[in-house]
Amino acid sequence: MNDIEKNVWRKYQKNIADDNYFFVRSCIRQNFFPASEQAFLKIMRNVLGKNVIEDPKHTTCAGIGYHSDVVTFDTLQTIMGRHFSLMTEAGIKNVAISCVTSFGLYSEVLETWKHFPKELEKTRDYLYKATGRTFEIPENIAHCSDIIYKFRNEIAQKATRKLVNAETGEPLSIVDHIGCHYSKIFPEYGEGGAEFPQVLTGMVSAWGGNSVDYPERRHCCGFGFRQYLVQANRGYSVSNTYKKLVSMEPYKPDFIVSNCPGCTMFMDKWQYTISEMEHKTFGDGNQGVPVLTYEEMAGLILGYNPWDLGLQMHQVSVEPLLKKMGIPYDESLKFADKNGHKSSVPFQPSYIL
């Protein structure tokens, strides 16, 4: 790469802090993929030796309420100011954000404060009046997928397997979906910007997989906030996911990886809905295409137990993928409690077994 090319690409690269992060959780991930957040902390602390602080007093950022138009921008900014206050108390200057919607909103709030300093002043006043708190502005914010991307090569060195078919040795075909709010609103906050997002492709390549392009790669998953949350509107949501699934189908992906909490959940759950409504499945036979978080993908190559990673919380069964990767698992423990005691098992759907 020559100097001109390097300069062109510089604007698509972001600065991600090396260490010492204040971790803020995602509402959707805590509900649907809690083990992924725990895997993030385990990888950061135990594999990479990084300092990540969690304060139980942090709350939702209220982003889903904000994008549903029932939480105002003043309120959102003040809740984020409170999180920065907790970060300041902890003596930390970098924020690691689990949720893509939150990440987009932290970016929006910081950009607003840069361009409209009176909004920052107003937020400081509101927060002080409401709680007596003050805060420092963080030096660095990053989505958790940015951080895993930054350390992808270190993770590869500690991995016990690659993203390959254990029988043939061929790289797995992996399609990605990046949450809209990761970089469509503020491209400079995303690795690769909105045009060349590298955050998931970089992990897939570093860990031996084959990242496959597809026509609707940048299309929204269809969450749409009110378009999913209200029952009457859910046709919007499932139609957009359907469009994506149809678009990736000819490329026969072994799995989908996403960095967004809602997108991961919808692309998993809507496969079930579509199979029941239309008798249509997107994987081999009556199977769906597994949808993994980036921590689940990292956990599998690091040799973590699939059930410790929470893969039993997915509607689309992951066992065909585990077999393909040669990963051992105990089927009898899939729905067991943490002591290995059996619990009830979920109802088996007609499709997506």
Binding site: P34, Q38, P56, V70, T72, F73, T131, Y236, Y272, Q315
Partner: protein, 235 residues
């Protein structure tokens, strides 16, 4: 300039979201909502740019401003760096403040959103909380979610969660002092008043429609706004 346009300009998102639209229509071309609904963000921006109060009132009473899914794909593609999605957010806020939202089927849904994700923030400290994601109103979540919902204490414990308990971890109980701080933020920033406005206009609308309304999710009006699809929303 009309009074309502001035009010829209007070919203920072309106100021940031709309400089000078040249009506190229890229926002509509990229928009997932425009593919699904009879929806055209280009036309909305055009209306807002040129409108008087009467036209703006008509827009804020209409179904169309509620079709956007706020993916913000429009922002990435606009050659003028506008964000039609932000314009929509400013219109929706003003529509609720002025009480216009209850005039449309999609607008009336704001009470449902206020009583779910909105109230969850103050009640739990989370927008989404497992016991509120009830399988009977979320059949699309499938049998695995039903299993998680029924066995949630065991499942979250297995996943390293900390459901409803003090301390760190996923779904930990948010302590009383923190919830009080959130409530105080909502009070100081006017969000509690905004909630009351949504409730008050909705109550009036329920009476006009002859539907029973109370403070539960099981009343006729709330069930109606969550499920009604009586208007023609698609092309």
């Amino acid at each position: 300039m009309g009074v309502l346009k001035k009010k829209l300009l007070e919203d920072i998102r309106f100021e940031e979201g709309l400089q000078a639209c040249m009506n190229c229509g890229i926002c509509t071309a990229i928009c997932p909502a425009a593919e699904f609904y009879d929806y055209d963000p280009r036309q909305i921006v055009n209306t807002v740019q040129t409108a008087d109060d009467e036209t703006l009132i008509e827009l804020m009473k209409s179904e169309t401003i509620w079709y956007c899914g706020q993916c913000m794909s429009c922002r990435t593609r606009c050659p003028r760096n506008n964000t039609p999605g932000y314009v929509i957010m400013a219109l929706r806020k003003l529509s609720q403040e002025m009480g216009f939202f209850t005039e449309s089927e999609k607008g009336r849904q704001q009470l449902y959103l206020k009583r779910t994700v909105g109230d969850n923030v103050l009640k739990y400290g989370y927008c989404i909380y497992p016991k509120e994601v009830k399988p009977e109103i979320h059949p699309e979540q499938g049998p695995i979610w039903e299993w998680i919902h029924e066995n949630r204490t065991m499942v979250y414990d297995r996943m390293g969660g900390n459901l409803d308990k003090p301390g760190e971890g996923p779904l930990r109980a948010i302590d009383k002092e923190t919830l009080n701080e959130l409530d105080s933020i909502f009070e100081v920033t006017g969000n509690n008043e905004f909630f009351k406005t949504i409730e008050s206009y909705s109550e009036k609308q329920a009476h006009e429609m002859g539907l029973q309304i109370n403070n539960t999710m099981n009343c006729e009006y709330v069930k109606h706004i969550n499920t009604a699809n009586e208007k023609q929303h698609q092309r």
